[in-house]
């Protein structure tokens, strides 16, 4: 009864998107006797009941290892796993389902491209373009490659708002440029990069582009054919799905041309000690037993998000971001880091004289969960000459009441340190 009342109330008070929070059991938690205010969805989103139930159902009535099994459970699990792949295909509008590779996450996906494409095609003296905004998972693999091959990394700088300097980007190109790997949305600043034109420019030089979409896919609709990106990577756990699974989209020709990343079962056609031949895509890149349950749960999460509508989610979250930005920037001594014109609902800030970790610990005392630190983007921190930020990140299940709680919490933190 109570739940239905609340639902009805929230629907009338604000709008439909907000009532989604009732689908997320964890949001009913109390932390330190205060209602949980979860503002850390950029690190990992929460899971709606429908996904939790899907996982339980899979383990209760459908589990077996997939592929090659002739029995009922194996056929059921295989069909569900393949269906999840098709859902992901539709979600990003890939041309073929075999262009969707299930990985263990964004990091795994980027490493797959580094090993499968980079180690095969990038040589000493070749150049790889990244940006200052990259997450470590889109820096370190390329550094490992550079160290191994003697390739060089070139970096697109950003301005004080946290926006890519497109002129500088274009100047980086030369004959040795062989790859561009770029974050779609900055996880520490929220900046949305103009990747469509960035990709188009790289293609005029015949250079393929990988997009790290970990922070974009949860918040806006993605059309890989329209973007014309060569690779696109993201993680289920930021899209209301489980940890342990992610997706690498790749254009068929490119995936076909690549060497496998991991060797093992299912990625081979024939094996003998003399000669091994590889299976077709996507199997060539899915060695061993994949995260079957997590992939199926990912599919359900995609259904859930698609029903809400990614455009609707984006609009709702933008409204929330604008509200939060207005409130926070009025607090004396608080400075927002990342003020790009085009942003997702990520709000990084620093407070004069108070270390982010102390802010995080004290907000937690009020039930407010934010993330503090370098957010795996040390080059961004270096760019702004700060050791860390406090980051509040919003999802469609957050609401303005929670923004108000954050604002009150920041005032209380300042009080402690006054």
């Amino acid at each position: 009864m109570k739940i239905i009342d609340t639902k009805f109330e929230s629907q009338t008070v604000t709008n439909n998107m907000e009532s989604t929070r009732l689908d997320f059991p964890i949001l009913k938690l109390k932390v330190n006797n205060k209602p949980l205010v979860y503002l850390d969805s950029a690190a990992s989103s929460q899971m709606p009941q429908v996904v939790i139930d899907r996982l339980s159902y899979y383990h209760t009535a459908q589990h077996a290892n997939i592929n090659r099994g002739v029995h009922y459970l194996s056929e059921t699990a295989t069909a569900a796993y393949n269906a999840a792949r098709c859902k992901l295909q539709q979600f990003v509008n890939a041309k073929e389902d075999r262009e969707i590779i299930f990985t263990s996450g964004t990091t795994d996906a980027i490493n797959l491209v580094m090993h499968g494409y980079g180690r095969k095609f990038i040589k000493a003296g070749d150049e790889i373009i990244l940006s200052t905004l990259e997450h470590h998972s889109n820096i370190v693999p390329w550094q490992m490659l550079a160290e191994e091959t003697g390739a060089k990394i070139r970096v697109i700088p950003i301005n004080d708002a946290g926006e890519l300097l497109i002129d500088e980007y274009e100047k980086l190109f030369n004959k040795r440029t062989k790859f561009v790997s770029l974050i779609h949305v900055s996880n520490s600043l929220g900046s949305i990069n103009p990747i469509k034109s960035v990709i188009a420019f790289a293609h005029t030089h015949g250079v393929p582009v990988l997009i790290d979409g970990a922070q974009a896919a949860p918040h806006m609709s993605i059309d890989v054919q329209d973007l014309d990106c060569d690779f696109y990577a993201f993680s289920a756990h930021k899209l209301c799905g489980p940890t342990g699974v992610g997706v690498l989209y790749g254009k068929e020709e490119l995936l076909e041309s690549m060497q496998p990343f991991k060797g093992g079962g299912d990625m081979i056609a024939t094996v003998s000690f003399e000669k091994t031949t590889y299976n077709t895509i996507p199997h060539k890149f899915e060695a061993g037993t994949p995260p079957i349950a997590a992939a199926i749960g990912f599919g359900t999460a995609i259904d859930y998000l698609s029903t809400l509508g990614l455009d609707e989610i984006h609009a709702y979250e933008t409204d929330l971001l604008n509200y939060a930005t207005e409130q926070i920037k009025q607090i004396p001594g608080v400075h927002i880091i990342g003020t790009a014109a085009d942003k997702t609902a990520i709000l990084s800030f620093v407070i004069d004289g108070i270390h982010p970790h102390d802010i995080g610990t004290l907000l937690n005392q009020d039930g407010i969960a934010i993330r503090t630190g370098h957010h795996c983007t040390q080059p961004v921190m270096q760019r702004f000459q700060i050791p860390a930020t406090s980051r509040a990140s919003f999802a469609f299940y957050n609401n303005k009441t929670e923004v108000d709680a954050l604002v009150a919490g920041i005032h209380a933190v300042k009080q402690v340190f006054s």
Binding site: R68, G69, V70, T270, T280
Partner: protein
């Protein structure tokens, strides 16, 4: 249709007495079909004469479903034109993957006994392998051997 009745109808006859089993010495076209994931392997040889399949033979090592499918297929396409065989190939593949409405006109005749295979997804490729191999053979250069596994149509079913 459940698996047992599929087996009973098809196997009893064709598995024990496969039609057109063997190899043609004077084949104009041939192909080798191979399903590496289950080890099935099928050789098809045929003689195409004035657009007609004059003679056809198969042999190989495979499960009963594959063998029965091959046996019935050779019987069905023998004497037919290239175009007719290609139509059957398409119809059989559609039927096996549940995309053919058997209420509409088609050319499969007794081969509809395989329609139940669509409920056994992992076995679909067994029933289809002979048809992929026939397709490869029909489109082969005389005497060339085509690995059906490199046929994109087949590749997507393994």
């Amino acid at each position: 249709m459940n698996a047992k009745s599929l087996y009973q109808e098809v196997i009893l006859d064709h598995n024990r007495k496969p039609r057109n089993y063997g190899t043609l010495d004077d084949a104009s076209h041939q192909a080798v079909g191979h399903n590496p994931l289950c080890g099935d392997r099928l050789d098809i040889t045929l003689n195409l004469n004035d657009e007609h399949i004059d003679k056809i033979a198969f042999h190989g090592e495979s499960c009963a479903i594959c063998k029965a499918s091959a046996s019935m297929m050779t019987a069905a396409v023998k004497g037919k034109t290239y175009a007719y065989a290609e139509t059957m190939i398409k119809e059989f593949r559609d039927m096996a993957t549940g995309k053919l409405n058997l209420d509409n006109p088609h050319h499969l005749g007794r081969l509809t006994v395989f329609s139940g295979i669509q409920d056994l997804p992992t076995r679909v490729k067994c029933a289809i392998l002979p048809w992929h191999t026939l397709h490869a053979a029909l489109n082969s250069v005389a005497g060339a051997s085509t690995e059906a596994e490199h046929d994109p149509a087949n590749a997507s079913t393994v």
